[in-house]
Amino acid sequence: MTTYLYEKDLVPQKYRILVANRHDALVRKIAAELDIPVQELRRYLIEHLDMILLENLPARYEMADANADQDDPVARVLGREKYTLYLPILPDAAMDAIFHAVNDRVRAGTAMEDAIAYGRVQIREVLRR
């Protein structure tokens, strides 16, 4: 096993950031939206984002709410820019693929809710990978 000279396990520090009032409310909101367990989302965020980004999550979420995907209702509900540009949780390519799949379904005549639900399942798959 590699031991680092200076590196330290940052998980407890990052967890402390995520359980502050606003951050906790935000993580619960995203978890409810994507329908995944809160603790699982926290673990994903801790593994993939650095500490300053975790601190900045609420401000970025506010900006995403105000500005992301203004002109495309499907992308807005799915959170295309929200989860890639504003909150960099998903890789761009994966999100694009999911968005196109959902868009195709909407165009083929599937109900909006069903298509979005399908998209959410795909997002969960990416997050669990």
Binding site: Y6, K8, P12, Q13, R16
Partner: protein, 151 residues
């Protein structure tokens, strides 16, 4: 004490390098240390250089109330400083934890528990002149007679 030792003492007392390490303060003391550099106080006229490099430092100014991030690092910084060395606690935080030392907080004050502290400057924050005076007093008591006290 021979001539060489006397020269060593004199030179040590006339050239002091200072490193400061912030172990979780509010920044106020940090900035007051920085203000010592200002032409008004002019710390360099006493031969004191604030360089912030532990490997060439003589005096370590410890600021702040010891947060968990420093657990193994403060000790490492202290070990890297060559002898003779002293640590000076600046402000109330390293002495007692000041108002951060309460229930629910993450700090582990005082710093005395973790590294040996030679002098303490209380105040929230202390004035730059007080910080300067503390550095000058450890200079006179530690570096000016190092050769006699450590044969």
């Amino acid at each position: 004490m021979n001539l060489l030792q006397r020269i060593k003492n004199k030179v040590r007392a006339r050239s002091i390098h200072v490193a400061y390490v912030d172990v979780g303060s509010c920044n106020g003391c940090d900035i007051e240390v920085l203000a010592c550099l200002a032409p008004r106080y002019d710390i360099e006229q006493y031969g004191i250089y604030v360089h912030n490099n532990p490997r060439e430092a003589d005096v370590l100014l410890v600021i702040g109330a010891y947060t968990p991030g420093w657990e193994e690092k403060l000790g490492m910084v202290w070990e890297k400083i060559p002898d003779p060395k002293v640590a000076v606690a600046i402000g109330n935080c390293p002495i007692s934890g000041c108002l951060f030392n309460r229930r629910e907080s993450f700090v582990d004050a005082p710093v005395k528990k973790h590294i040996p502290i030679a002098a303490e400057v209380p105040g929230c924050p202390p004035r730059p002149t007080e910080i300067l005076e503390a550095i000058l007093s450890v200079r006179d008591s530690v570096f000016a007679n190092w050769e006699e006290s450590h044969p």
